[in-house]
């Protein structure tokens, strides 16, 4: 399968070189190759877990004219280390595909390594004037805020997943209509791996310096959702927000709904220091607490549960020390857990297309003990450090 795909891509690439001679830029192939070395540990005296991942991404688009376009995004990963051997469910997570059609393949794997290939974009699009139809695996991004996106009901993702900036796609049919240069109306139908449908419509327009959107639909054939989101500015700072409300389809009248709401602001100072703030409320089932904090690295299974605590506060500062070297520090506070997250990152552009990134993530929190010693809280901490060397092409 991999060979077939590679040869198709190779053929396409050759065609692109050929086609560039006559009509430049109708084909585009880009991607990257990176190596990520990670170490994770809960308490410092616990065993340290080392993993390495060689990750190749290929994105290719073809835009031959005004009507037809297509895109394929492919992720090839070679993962080896202690997580695979220590955690039997880890491989299952690697090979999981949330789409209607399985496009994730276990190319070759054993007790301590896995080679996994995934198509996370595979779409065709047709445009007629102001109407665009896109079918296939695609990323549908309705988010307005920076960290938690209640409005982004089609492709939930984990903020903490450092090696997936593109984020997953979903198997969907999308019709977009652009009534004006700054507005869209769209309807999307998506099917997940269990065949459950999510269908929703969204309208976005610009008024008084604000982008404002409203959405309504059915999520996973289970919950009705209505929502709104906006991006504007107050005194030079961006002011963004998203609100979603879910009501179960079953027992619609005698159940209570679930509310997710977030607001945030971001501002860039004249010295290029950028600050981002966001507060997020996620109504969770009473008594809910996560089984373990490792689960936060996985994309949330439902857009109704985007965080593992009800209240979440986020503050991030980022600053380019030079145009080649930027640093950032993200901090989250979870009042319900009396816990926090600290995530510094360093990014250094070594050469024109080569970057070195260092990510550190530290969690600390207390959970209610549901076991025999209910009076003693469970104390949890987790440390992750990752160094990535990335070549973009």
């Amino acid at each position: 399968m991999l060979l077939t795909l590679t040869s198709i891509l190779f053929l396409i690439f050759n065609l692109s070189l050929y086609s560039q001679e006559q009509k430049p830029c109708s084909w585009k192939l880009k991607g990257y190759l990176n190596d990520l070395q990670m170490v994770q540990v809960n308490k410092i005296e616990d065993p340290w877990i080392f993993d390495n991942e060689i990750h190749n991404r290929l994105d290719f688009t073809w835009n031959p004219g005004k009507i037809f376009a297509m895109g394929i995004g492919m992720r090839n990963r070679f993962i080896f280390g202690q997580s695979i051997s220590a955690n039997p469910s880890y491989k299952g997570m690697l090979f999981a595909d949330n789409g209607l059609i399985n496009m994730t393949w276990d190319i070759y794997s054993s007790t301590s390594f896995a080679i996994v290939t995934q198509l996370d974009r595979a779409w065709l699009s047709f445009t007629l004037g102001k109407v665009q139809l896109t079918a296939g695996r695609q990323r549908i991004n309705w988010g307005q805020t920076i960290v938690w996106n209640p409005n982004d009901i089609f492709n939930t993702y984990s903020y903490f997943d450092i090696d997936y900036p593109e984020r997953p796609g979903s198997d969907a049919v999308r019709v977009q209509y652009y009534p004006s240069s700054t507005s869209t109306v769209e309807i999307v139908s998506k099917w997940n791996n269990l065949g459950k449908i999510t269908v929703a419509g969204m309208g976005r327009f610009n008024a008084g310096g604000y982008d404002i959107q409203f959405l309504a639909g059915l999520v996973d054939n289970q919950d009705y959702v209505v929502g709104t989101g906006w991006s504007g500015n107050i005194a030079g700072a961006a002011f963004r927000g998203e609100i979603n409300y879910y009501q179960p389809k079953k027992n619609f009248t005698d159940t209570t709904g679930v509310l997710l709401a977030t607001i945030g602001a971001d501002y860039t100072f004249s010295n290029s220091l950028a600050l981002t703030f966001q507060v997020f409320y996620n109504q969770l089932p009473s008594g809910y607490q996560p089984e373990n904090l490792i689960s936060i690295y996985q994309a949330p299974t439902s857009p109704k549960m985007l965080s593992f605590t009800q209240w979440n506060l986020f503050l991030m500062g980022s600053y380019p020390i030079t145009p080649l070297f930027d640093v950032s520090l993200a901090v989250m506070y979870f009042p319900d857990l009396n816990g926090y997250f600290i995530g510094p990152t360093l990014n250094y552009n070594i050469k024109q297309n080569i970057d070195l990134n260092l990510f550190i993530q530290y969690f600390n929190g207390r959970f209610k003990n549901t076991g025999p010693q209910q009076d003693q809280d469970l104390y949890f901490q987790s440390f992750l450090s990752a160094l990535r060397l990335k070549w973009s092409f």
């Binding site: 585009k28 990257y32 695609q138 991004n141 700054t182 500015n233 024109q352």
Partner: protein
């Protein structure tokens, strides 16, 4: 008293005539570089003592309210596009399929880490409409006789500069040099333009150097690879739909 009134009137009208001239000159220089509509392909190089990086982009403009740009290289940033309609600005990131509305505080930022600001790229302010103009002298620069013209921001104009001084060649209206000052009258950066070439239907300087005043050993160079002027571009081209499929 009568004499005083007359001389006052004459002084006023002659000042007005000079100011009109200065504005006319700045307008001609601005029109030369912009046209009513324009399409250009540029290459920007950020130069520092120990390294340099090059970013290529295309930009489209119509009047002062409509502009769009697309990064074409390096690969990591390529495909990102920017749209500016009057005071609203958006960026499109194809990697995550996300349209982001940018706050005004982003406008004065160095674009992609360069000494070029978003304001320079997307022409937030107009050197013709947002400033008053006066000729403050003549100077010879790179073989051209130039007017030296001072620009002071009009009251309530949303501009980032306290003062600008332009050197504009007297016969060709090439803008050959510009000094940008902050509100305290301190020089912030200097633009030096050179390498006059024929582009589409006119001769224009095709090489810009942007030199920040407080960092003498760093600069940004912009080279115009291709420019077209007054080509037909519909207003509707400057749209969120279009910015997703620029190439």
């Amino acid at each position: 008293m009568k004499n005083f009134c007359l001389s006052f009137f004459l002084t006023c009208s002659s000042t007005a005539a000079i100011a009109q001239d200065a504005t006319e000159i700045v307008k001609k220089a601005d029109d030369l570089m912009q046209g009513v509509t324009s399409l250009s392909e540029m290459e920007m190089t950020i130069i520092r003592p120990s390294w340099q990086r090059t970013i290529s982009f295309k930009s489209w403009g119509k009047g002062r309210n409509l502009s769009m740009s697309l990064i074409t290289a390096p690969p990591k940033e390529s495909g990102q596009s920017f749209l500016k309609l009057k005071n609203d600005m958006w960026s499109w990131n194809p990697t995550i399929n996300r349209m982001i509305k940018l706050p005004p505080s982003m406008m004065s930022q160095g674009w992609m880490g360069s000494d070029y600001t978003n304001d320079d790229i997307l022409k937030e302010s107009s050197i013709v409409l947002d400033y008053t103009h006066k000729i403050i002298g003549s100077e010879r620069l790179s073989g051209y006789d130039c007017y030296k013209i001072q620009l002071d921001p009009k009251e309530n104009a949303a501009v980032v500069w306290g003062k600008i001084i332009f050197w504009i060649s007297k016969t060709e209206y090439y803008e050959l040099k510009a000094e940008y000052y902050d509100e305290d009258g301190k020089i912030v950066k200097t633009h030096i333009l050179s390498d006059v070439r024929f582009m589409y239907d006119r001769n224009i300087p095709t090489h810009f150097e942007i030199i920040p005043a407080d960092k003498p050993n760093q600069k940004t160079e912009v080279r115009i690879l291709l420019s077209k002027f007054n080509i037909p571009i519909q207003d509707s081209f400057f749209s969120q739909q279009q910015m997703k499929s620029l190439k």
